[in-house]
């Protein structure tokens, strides 16, 4: 059975793409990249005219309202991320355990599991905006893209979903989700773009399966 169990091990979207360590310039890294794994993700699309009611249900269950503009609303166990008109991604901190929640929401929303569909990473550091400026066609100045703002856009011909987190001790912080199949090309762009600043990479499985 041990053999079987091992053979059914999940394989992260990041597997074979990036390892922990430093890339690019040596010395103090200008950017820190944390590869995220183990979160749960589902698309919710409200029925015509049903967005407010859906939001109320979500709020009652999770304590977060569904944003009606491109934002992320963080919650204790789940974050709600706007992903189109009347459409959201519900991100759970762990892969398992959202089944009954999603089941109950499916009365009010079209629910589609996307837990395996995206690779995600968190970026921070003093040079993070300079790295992102090499691919993101959006103004990420805090005056234009505040903490909690989210955007669906593209980087280097690759669709991304990104949002701004509260600033960390090392400066501004962002999370980016990218289609799983394209994460290799995304990483090629990222590694080239971050190289001049030096980038420290770590992997965070703490929220998911270990």
């Amino acid at each position: 059975m041990a053999e079987t169990a091992r053979s059914w091990a999940p394989r992260s979207a990041w597997a074979g793409i990036a390892q922990a360590g430093q890339i690019g310039a040596a010395g103090a890294a200008g950017v820190t990249a944390t590869l995220l794994d183990g979160f749960g993700l589902a698309t919710l699309i409200a029925a015509p005219g049903g967005a407010a009611a859906l939001s109320q249900t979500v709020e009652a269950r999770l304590g977060i309202a569904l944003p009606t503009t491109p934002k992320i609303v963080p919650g204790a166990s789940h974050d709600a991320i706007w992903s189109g008109p009347d459409q959201w991604l519900l991100r759970a901190s762990t892969r398992e355990g959202s089944g009954s929640l999603l089941e109950s929401l499916s009365a009010q929303a079209a629910v589609s599991d996307q837990s395996d569909a995206r690779a995600a990473l968190r970026l921070s550091g003093p040079d993070v905006r300079d790295v992102l400026a090499k691919g993101v066609m959006l103004d990420l100045h805090p005056a234009a893209f505040a903490v909690g703002d989210a955007a669906l856009t593209s980087i280097a011909h690759i669709g991304v979903h990104l949002w701004r987190l509260a600033d960390g001790p090392d400066g501004s912080a962002f999370e980016i989700m990218v289609a799983r199949s394209m994460v290799g090309s995304f990483w090629s762009w990222f590694a080239a773009s971050a190289a001049e600043f030096g980038c420290q990479i770590s992997i965070d499985r703490s929220t998911g399966r270990g």
Binding site: K134, G135, S185
Partner: protein
């Protein structure tokens, strides 16, 4: 080599403590940090730097900036060689290598200078009038000669070893130009808290202040410059970008710029790009790009040693180089006198001043003070010297002619505003009669123009404009500005000018466009032959078409044309400029996107597993897919593919099909929606079942196909072809949002969520049995053909199982969450091991679909109808659907449209090839006999011969007939027999097993 005979002992913005060694045409020289290549060459007394385009005349350095038409060199060597590089803007670095171009065997002795002797025949456009007989000689003889002689530098050709980046910036205000106007503008806006980006093409900020001896507020301008830069640097929202050229203005306030990150170094440091291409989004922009000085057209005006007067000041004041021992100044205005003054101040000798304007006592006194002869109302009519200027001919106001020797002729004829960006949005400059130059006319929204770029040429005006427009921009973007500070005062300046468009009466060629060797006589010829509209003029005589884009020539050409046709300059035309302002390296605009990074690569969740298995991968749209899995000993792909196909048909195989588009479609009207987008019916499809669907474009041709499954009453999962996944999603969104927003239908792509694997072959069920959890009954009765249901695998992992088949075998597609894709193929391999399970790739997939006569990308080519493909019967007549009416048009239902059938070679040993056309046997291969074409072919290991699918007139009615598969481009001409497109198991017994 350390002697720099023309270097001044002191002064200038060079660092004499930081010598830099470099080479030109193999000879070694030394310059200083702060030099340009041009200033360093001049310091070393190098005058001859290039040969002209057509006549191969010796050329020197004319300017000190981006307008340089003559001093073009090949910079660096090997794969880093950069042709046509303007020596006047190259920042000197240690180890720099440069070479002259367009000469053979050497710069000093150039054989093609013989063109100068036959030059009387080589007038503008001579080639339009000759080289026509005999016709075949053009490609064989004339053109190769012309091509070899044409062009200037040699491109490296080999792969550029450096890398490039793109970047995107946003600001309240973009200031273009870091001279006094631009700096004032940036400061005024920056002090209000505006987000400012200040770009300057130079490596040092200051613009003309660097080249002039000026005072601001009673102190040397350098102090004002230092203080201003210090304050700008202290402002957190101000970004200063030297070595950055804003090259173009595009719609909605987007500016293109190129940052030369490492061009001032021998090669880019580790992790740094050579250049970075920027898209700058600016709410407001101020063009403060200054002005470009104009030469004068006179005979011999291209001799090395003839230089713009303002450039002379740059070399003297900025670079500490006196470009000549004995100077004559030819000026049409006050500005040139400053050059004489600065040369004298630097200890140089001004032999004579030729001022085209009438005598004036103040100027006379000034000339006397400088110790220079003054020729008031005079003109330089000729310049002597071969590789270096040796003297000039001067005609005075009385018409008397003098010969003077000199080695530098400084020429001053007023300045043209650098208004290029204002014309990038089709804006037309306006002629200013009092200034005698074009000034910005219609200016794009969001852009204002300051200082010299607006024709406001004095330093005082530059400072005033910058401060005012900077404040205005800050106000316009909603910022509160501080009270205006008083404009700094400047030392007095005068601007008198009476431009000289050309000096007649000289001997020899008088150049209008140096780089393209266009002379005043060429302009006259254009006038004579009717090429009078300014665009005809430019195109006919190639005026302004060289790498300098006519920065020093367009106005002279226009003025001479005006003179020829008795019109004014504005009546004759305007000078407009296309982007880019100066040439931009292709690499900088491509950035990261070259080689494998040209476009993103999509990889399936099983990719690494396939790699382990030794798969050969193939580009399939954006995806890389496993094409086949060679085993050791298999030397050609066909052997491998045959093995894979046989293994599937005899036992079981597996193939990744994750690349198919997968769209989750939910909502109360989901079934109704499918009715409208597919040609066939969907409302009656039971839950838990899949169905093949075909959709048309609105013009009636086939768009895509795939299976769609009903997962719930109001829940469908559509699959699309790999190639059309994005297109179909967009189409469905169009149908929903634009055509039928009243329907409750909610769609999202789930392509990335699921890894999908096809398991095919008689042992497919048994293999699956080892993977799908026991509680799911997979028997034929419980899970029949076209069943589509949720199952679990690996002890509770949610999955979806579809009993669908592309191969015609008993087959399933198993979808699992992508993280489990890898584990699933490994589990399947383990479960199928007893049956010899074999991974197969797209080639084997293709063979089996052809054996079964399924259509795929080669048939769904946008030119075929459902009827053409034998799928016409699927079209429901009971409902409206996209494409229904247009599919019924006369030409789409004609019986003789080529229709879908199979083909087999009459001689089974012969190979078939897709793309062959069908011709009746015995008829010649001409277009009238074209009956259709082969869409797909494969070798069938099952039949042991090649087989093909294709479209032929008459279609199925002709089964049994023989035709030629005509393939002249591959020397293939095969007799084939028309047959059913289903080559294997036509009854479908295997499918239902």
């Amino acid at each position: 080599m350390s002697t720099q005979p023309f270097r001044l002992a002191s002064g200038g913005l060079i660092d004499r403590g930081h010598p830099l060694d470099f080479s030109f045409d193999g000879a070694s020289y030394r310059g200083y940090a702060g030099d340009t290549l041009a200033s360093a060459l001049l310091a070393n007394g190098v005058r001859l730097v290039g040969r002209s385009f057509k006549y191969h005349r010796p050329r020197g350095i004319l300017s000190a900036g981006p307008e340089e038409p003559n001093a073009l060199v090949e910079l660096r060597s090997g794969a880093r060689r950069e042709p046509n590089t303007r020596a006047t803007v190259v920042e000197l670095f240690g180890g720099l290598e440069a070479a002259s171009q367009n000469r053979w065997p050497s710069l000093a002795f150039d054989l093609l200078s013989i063109n100068g002797l036959i030059s009387p025949a080589l007038v503008a456009g001579f080639y339009y009038k000759t080289f026509m007989w005999p016709a075949s000689f053009w490609e064989k003889l004339y053109e190769p000669l012309i091509r070899r002689a044409a062009g200037l530098g040699r491109a490296a050709g080999a792969e550029d070893p450096d890398h490039y980046e793109k970047a995107f910036a946003f600001c309240d205000l973009l200031v273009i130009g870091g001279g006094p106007a631009g700096l004032s503008a940036a400061l005024a806006a920056g002090r209000s808290g505006a987000r400012v980006i200040l770009c300057d093409e130079d490596f040092r900020l200051g613009g003309r202040l660097l080249a002039e001896q000026r005072e601001i507020d009673g102190k040397p301008a350098s102090e004002w410059l230092a203080a201003t830069l210090a304050e700008l640097t202290s402002l957190p929202e101000v970004r200063i970008m030297p070595r950055t050229t804003v090259f173009g203005l595009y719609d909605h306030g987007i500016y293109g710029a190129v940052e030369r990150v490492a061009d001032h170094l021998p090669q880019p440091p580790a992790h740094q790009p050579r250049q970075r291409g920027w898209r700058i989004h600016a709410r407001r922009a101020i063009l403060a790009a200054g002005a470009l000085e104009r030469p004068i057209v006179f005979a011999g005006n291209d001799r090395p040693g003839v230089m713009l007067a303002g450039a002379v000041r740059s070399y003297v004041n900025r670079h500490g180089v006196l470009p000549g021992r004995e100077t004559v100044l030819f000026t049409a205005g006050d500005d040139g006198w400053t050059t004489a003054r600065d040369i004298a101040a630097a200890g140089g000798k001004v032999a004579a001043i030729v001022d085209s304007r009438p005598a004036d006592p103040v100027r006379k006194a000034l000339a006397d003070k400088l110790g220079a002869r003054l020729f008031a109302g005079g003109a330089v009519t000729g310049a002597r010297g071969g590789r270096q200027l040796s003297g000039v001919t001067i005609r005075d106001a009385s018409g008397a002619v003098s010969e003077l020797s000199c080695d530098l002729l400084a020429v001053s004829n007023g300045w043209n505003p650098t208004l290029h960006l204002t014309s990038h949005q089709n804006g037309k400059p306006a002629w200013d009669e009092s200034l005698q130059c074009f000034v910005p006319g219609t200016v794009p929204a969001g852009l204002t123009v300051a200082g010299s770029a607006a024709g406001r040429f004095t330093l005082a005006q530059a400072l005033e404009d910058g401060a005012r427009l900077g404040r205005d921009a800050a106000t316009e973007v909603g910022l509160t500005t501080l009270p205006a500070e008083p404009t700094p005062t400047t030392d007095p300046e005068t601007n008198g000018l009476s431009p000289v468009w050309r000096v007649s009466g000289g001997k020899g060629k008088a150049f209008v466009d140096y780089q393209n060797d266009v002379t005043d006589k060429d302009v006259e010829l254009a006038a004579r032959e009717g090429f009078r509209p300014v665009e005809h003029l430019k195109r006919y005589i190639t005026l302004g078409m060289a790498t300098d884009q006519g920065k020093t020539s367009n106005l002279s050409g226009l003025a001479i044309m005006a003179e020829q046709t008795g019109r004014t300059i504005p009546q004759t035309g305007t000078t407009t400029f296309r982007p880019p302002y100066t040439p931009v390296a292709i690499g900088a605009l491509a950035g990261h996107h070259r080689g494998k990074d040209f476009r993103p690569i999509r990889l399936a969740p099983t990719h690494d597993w396939s790699k382990e298995q030794g798969a050969i991968f193939v580009e399939s749209g954006p995806w890389l897919r496993a094409q086949y899995y060679p085993r050791s000993g298999e030397t050609d792909w066909l052997t491998t593919v045959n093995r894979e196909v046989k293994a599937v048909r005899a036992g079981v195989g597996l193939c990744d099909v994750s690349t198919l588009g997968k769209i989750d479609i939910q909502g109360a009207d989901a079934a109704e929606f499918l009715e409208r987008v597919y040609i066939n019916g969907w409302k009656a499809l039971p839950v838990g079942k899949a169905r093949y669907g075909l959709m048309l474009r609105e013009d009636g041709f086939v768009m895509d196909d795939g299976t769609t499954s009903r997962l719930g009453e109001t829940h469908f999962l559509m699959t699309t072809t790999t190639a059309n996944a994005g297109k179909v999603m967009q189409h469905l969104e169009f149908c929903h949002q634009v055509l039928w927003p009243e329907l409750d239908v909610r769609m999202v792509s789930v392509s990335e969520q699921w890894a999908q694997v096809a398991i095919a072959g008689p042992k497919a069920r048994e293999t699956l049995r080892g993977v799908v959890d026991r509680e799911h009954d997979l028997s034929n009765e419980a899970f029949p053909y076209l069943a589509a249901r949720a199952v679990t695998v690996g002890g509770g992992i949610p999955a979806r199982l579809f009993r669908i088949s592309f191969s015609g075998e008993l087959a399933y597609e198993l979808a699992v969450p992508a993280d489990y894709g890898d584990a699933t193929v490994r589990a399947l391999m383990q479960a199928g091991a007893p049956f010899g399970i074999t991974p197969y790739g797209t080639e084997a997939l293709g063979v089996m679909r052809i054996e079964k006569g399924h259509v795929a990308g080669n048939e769904l080519n946008g030119q075929t109808t459902a009827r053409d493909l034998g799928l016409g019967k699927m079209m429901s007549s009971k409902k409206d659907f996209v494409g229904r009416l247009m599919a019924g048009r006369q030409a789409l239902v004609e019986p003789d449209r080529p229709a879908f059938v199979g083909f087999k070679p009459v001689d089974p040993s012969q190979r078939l090839r897709a793309g062959a056309h069908f011709i009746d046997i015995g008829k010649p291969g001409v277009m009238e006999n074209d009956e259709g074409y082969m869409t797909s072919v494969a070798y069938s290991p099952h039949l042991d011969h090649w087989m093909g699918l294709g479209l032929i007139k008459g279609g199925a009615a002709r089964v049994g007939e023989r035709v030629r598969a005509y393939d002249p481009v591959r020397n293939g001409d095969v007799v084939v027999e028309i047959c059913s497109p289903v080559f294997v198991d036509p009854e479908g017994a295997r499918l239902h097993g």
